[in-house]
Subunit: 372 residues, 4 copies
Amino acid sequence: MAGSTYGTIFKITTWGESHGKALGVVIDGCPAGLPLQEEDIQFYLDRRRPGASHITTQRKEADRVEILSGVFEGKTTGTPISLMIHNTSQISGDYNEIASYYRPGHADYTFDQKYGFRDYRGGGRSSGRETIGRVAAGAIACKILKLLGITLCAYTRSIGPIEADMSKFDRQVIAQTPTAMPDPHAAKAALAYLETTRQENDSAGGCMECLVEGLPAGIGEPVFEKLDANLAKAMMSIGAVKAVEIGDGHRVARRHGSENNDAFRMEEGNVKKSTNHAGGILGGISDGDTIVLRAYVKPTPSIFRTQETVNQSGQEIDINIKGRHDPIIVPRAIVVMECMTALTILDAMLIHMTARLDFVMDFYTNRRTPSI
Amino acid sequence: MAGSTYGTIFKITTWGESHGKALGVVIDGCPAGLPLQEEDIQFYLDRRRPGASHITTQRKEADRVEILSGVFEGKTTGTPISLMIHNTSQISGDYNEIASYYRPGHADYTFDQKYGFRDYRGGGRSSGRETIGRVAAGAIACKILKLLGITLCAYTRSIGPIEADMSKFDRQVIAQTPTAMPDPHAAKAALAYLETTRQENDSAGGCMECLVEGLPAGIGEPVFEKLDANLAKAMMSIGAVKAVEIGDGHRVARRHGSENNDAFRMEEGNVKKSTNHAGGILGGISDGDTIVLRAYVKPTPSIFRTQETVNQSGQEIDINIKGRHDPIIVPRAIVVMECMTALTILDAMLIHMTARLDFVMDFYTNRRTPSI
Amino acid sequence: MAGSTYGTIFKITTWGESHGKALGVVIDGCPAGLPLQEEDIQFYLDRRRPGASHITTQRKEADRVEILSGVFEGKTTGTPISLMIHNTSQISGDYNEIASYYRPGHADYTFDQKYGFRDYRGGGRSSGRETIGRVAAGAIACKILKLLGITLCAYTRSIGPIEADMSKFDRQVIAQTPTAMPDPHAAKAALAYLETTRQENDSAGGCMECLVEGLPAGIGEPVFEKLDANLAKAMMSIGAVKAVEIGDGHRVARRHGSENNDAFRMEEGNVKKSTNHAGGILGGISDGDTIVLRAYVKPTPSIFRTQETVNQSGQEIDINIKGRHDPIIVPRAIVVMECMTALTILDAMLIHMTARLDFVMDFYTNRRTPSI
Amino acid sequence: MAGSTYGTIFKITTWGESHGKALGVVIDGCPAGLPLQEEDIQFYLDRRRPGASHITTQRKEADRVEILSGVFEGKTTGTPISLMIHNTSQISGDYNEIASYYRPGHADYTFDQKYGFRDYRGGGRSSGRETIGRVAAGAIACKILKLLGITLCAYTRSIGPIEADMSKFDRQVIAQTPTAMPDPHAAKAALAYLETTRQENDSAGGCMECLVEGLPAGIGEPVFEKLDANLAKAMMSIGAVKAVEIGDGHRVARRHGSENNDAFRMEEGNVKKSTNHAGGILGGISDGDTIVLRAYVKPTPSIFRTQETVNQSGQEIDINIKGRHDPIIVPRAIVVMECMTALTILDAMLIHMTARLDFVMDFYTNRRTPSI
């Protein structure tokens, strides 16, 4: 369990380093018969790429995906889908210096402690570029979920002290602002805040949120494989995430049960909840309501100020980090959040198909599979 | 992956319902040669049992553990350890009524949606009693960690609006108050708050925290099996937890990088950090500092007030829940948090033993394993 | 992966030693809604128990199964089913002597090498009694397969040099002879052979075969999780099995392709094969024909003759094993073979339900799951 | 579990089809610090390539491996190693015809039944080219095993009726004959047999054997993850293998216990066995003796004779297969057997490192891991 494989049925394995030849992912267990083209995946990778604004890294990568296997005549075959994205804009020279010391807030020290040495170029495997494989695989999961009537929408909830006003939520705005905020007013304020931050050679944190709509009730498992438990793992596995919430999250701790319980009611013959403090999950299983997921992201640890640290010889030194770094991680991590959520939910949905004897009987006895 | 198995090397499988004959756990992969007695486990189960105070359920269970396999002449044999705890105080009559409707905030509705029906007695598998197996297994993990010089300490950080003052932290106090708070002043205030809550037939939420000390650097994996990702899953898999934090958690989202980065420095020849905003984990791998973990728990959904809900026939009804319920979950969940943390960390430590060629070479070529 | 868990979706975890308090199994992932009683399981355990004849051990165990969880109102709930069988007839005194030396053909030496010591009473975890958990779980798998129209039939193909004449195959005979052979003539000869063997204080080996009928085409996976690969693992995981075959097995190595290929033909509108050299599996996936599986079992290593071995002090000694041992393993292992086959096939069938997009679309969009 | 991932700690995921752009494998969990170059892997791939003789396919592929990630400054980093081999010699035109019908002995029909359609070019994922990823990953496992003093040697035991005389075993001969037999005499006879077979437009089967020397006692697990169970799975997962044996294999079924038991004895202070009928494994755990493994391979199903089959429209037709096919699979599968054995054994060895408390204590408390 060296940790680059994720999922039980829809299983992905990512590989690649920031400054290696390429990055990629192998998806095993993708249902056969899905129409799939490189464009389906490219669309998500493009959302992940840095834009033209001040708030993203100056490293420009084309990040063109190539399908190497698992697709025949435009459809997935049920066998492993191998996706590769070449690195083209590595400037490893920027990183030679960091080979010898440990950047605060980075994984340099812990990788050395774990493995005895590290690929220091651009952070190697601990770079944000590691998420390319997740996004490429997640694009496929999102495509399947969409066919099943399930839509995901991730956006920036806050940047530093600037919070989106959710009463002004406008889904269109998310893609129109480099902040990925759904509220144009807050987006403007956040950009100003980030500009100041950047001028002070500093970086900012923020909060991202993902909504999942259309998920039927019954998805997830009790006990260890709760849907929210797996979503929490998925979120915390994204570099720089330090807190995860479902529904009302940490706010529930200050409430009374009478305030926090969501009453059930009937609506057009269906069971609904009057409120959604629970965020769409009860006892680890989806309740049919919108899944609400939040992840809090620390400020980019690479800042352009002098910092104190130690080097590999055990000397205390002052350092000034060079290179190309986003002053904030959140807007580019939005699509990673969406993809990790999709991967987690799709896998849970596939597992759920085997949960009941009547499902199994229906599949094997009522379905007519003509041998020709 | 029906979800009752946890861990890769130190693997546990729990079973049992609130009102079934018994509950238990099978631990597979426990290293051979560990001295183990029922008392080692009983000590942790007793910490989980309701106390004599007003703030815990009136259901009294002896919760005596029995070792059924895997221990010979007082030591673990390396084969599965089966632990069983009989249920003795089931009063299922209390629950017959809930068979027909869906309690707000509970998993009744989602279990029905998933499985087509449910064991409604006391919540069945979704009951808090499900955690007995986790605690029994976790007691063994804790014992091993202790032998390795690693100590865990979980406590109540807050109850409703009452927060422990960490400058008054006193480890002794935790076991002395039914609140499990480490600050005697806050504990007193919390008890008063809970008494009021109880009198209003309501329930309260809270926050629990766990510190892990002595963990060496290098534990955990990059990418999906990050130590913090697995801890987040472990926490969110505990019923009623709605938010999880590592280190400074959601507070990092409002900070600048210059505030949030932990500078490295030397201390007696060892690398240390000047601060611990990161909570002891960088890039998913332990950094040698204290692991700081927080979980936010919703108020007990079973409250003794009239609530609106629907029944299985699709009628909107008013209900009044009976039965025996804690007005707050947190103090009894403390030991569950500690145990889930221990299970997660021990498993990561066992996996880490294979991370480097020099570890493997050292084990297989330098060690002298005489054949007699 | 300490090795007592088997399966991906229908996942079982066995525990228990020959002379411990009890043995058992936890089944996680059994579909909800299956009618299940202790009698369903007891029937299979009774088939595993030693009979009254000379060819089985004199140890008599009631082997009564108890369902501890996962069944409510006579149906499986989808949560873990815990089954326990108490040991009642342990005579550990028989085994004190073997604590100090290594019995030829047994796992005494290898357990000591692996774990540093061992539960020597009756072989501990390496005893044939370990299979009780497999049979208890397999009984449930068999019940589900039967509902899906799939039947399994295992029997003794040969004992020592005596081979069943398959042209005289009579399914009824299997249960009527202590040899479990399907040919009454061979059964008689085998009994005579075993009687001679027993009188010479020796033991015998044999071959067992299992036929699976009614399995639809398409079950299994390409590459590593081939249906035959998993069946081979399942068979070789049964103690004393030293060879496994699918279809014509080792005989194919001497054939030409023109002799070994099974021609396809049409029969009442369905694709069939003219012959079944392949044993019902092509490329790791079932082809709709009968699955033919064979396992070769070594003679019981415990024989009542003087044998040379070494003790734990490294001295060469002569030993005479005492205790109660079957002179042949095969007839009692038949039901274990059937159960391991059932567990493997059912798990593959559950996984197959997610193999195609049209299966998933059909499940989630065409099925009508009313929320009430 | 779509089946293209193998292993628990040393985990590989293969991908690619016979006529796709490329084939490859991702190795996750390879210990850090292993010196690794493309040449290490190329050596094994070259052993797998068809030679110049009549007995191998006329398809010529360079099969050059490229390391895409996981190696830095000539050493493995502990993160995923991605290996890719481009297909360069696809002549898909050869295969257009087979799109419409089911070749006897092939997986065409079962793939269609499973997935609804298939990549028919060269057999797609069910082609023998699928093993390229296994060999590339296995080369790394072999390199590590060699460093640990463990050597593997696979060879052809028989071809059709021609059996190698093991008393004339000469390791040098294996690489010198296109038959991969260790006995020059038998090799010559086998070549003559294959030439006749080829002239008759037919194909031949055979048996391959693998010896593992230097493996310490204690490797493997009891119950389901027995070393021999996993080796059996590994062997049967290789296309065309229909029988697997450990040690004396199917011959044990005709023996008495007194003939089959291997007596223990002392040799220079070490426990040894007088004979090795068991093939180096007792109770699923290695006993320190040579591991003896055998796999029986069916004749190549593609033969150049007219065969009867059906097409996708359900018509019975006569076919004549074209394309480039080996008249025997065995000699080229030898290296696949060796690699699958190495992968299985290395994974078991890594898992074994966590089997005892004293191992864990030794690793975490006695080892001195300086933080710098």
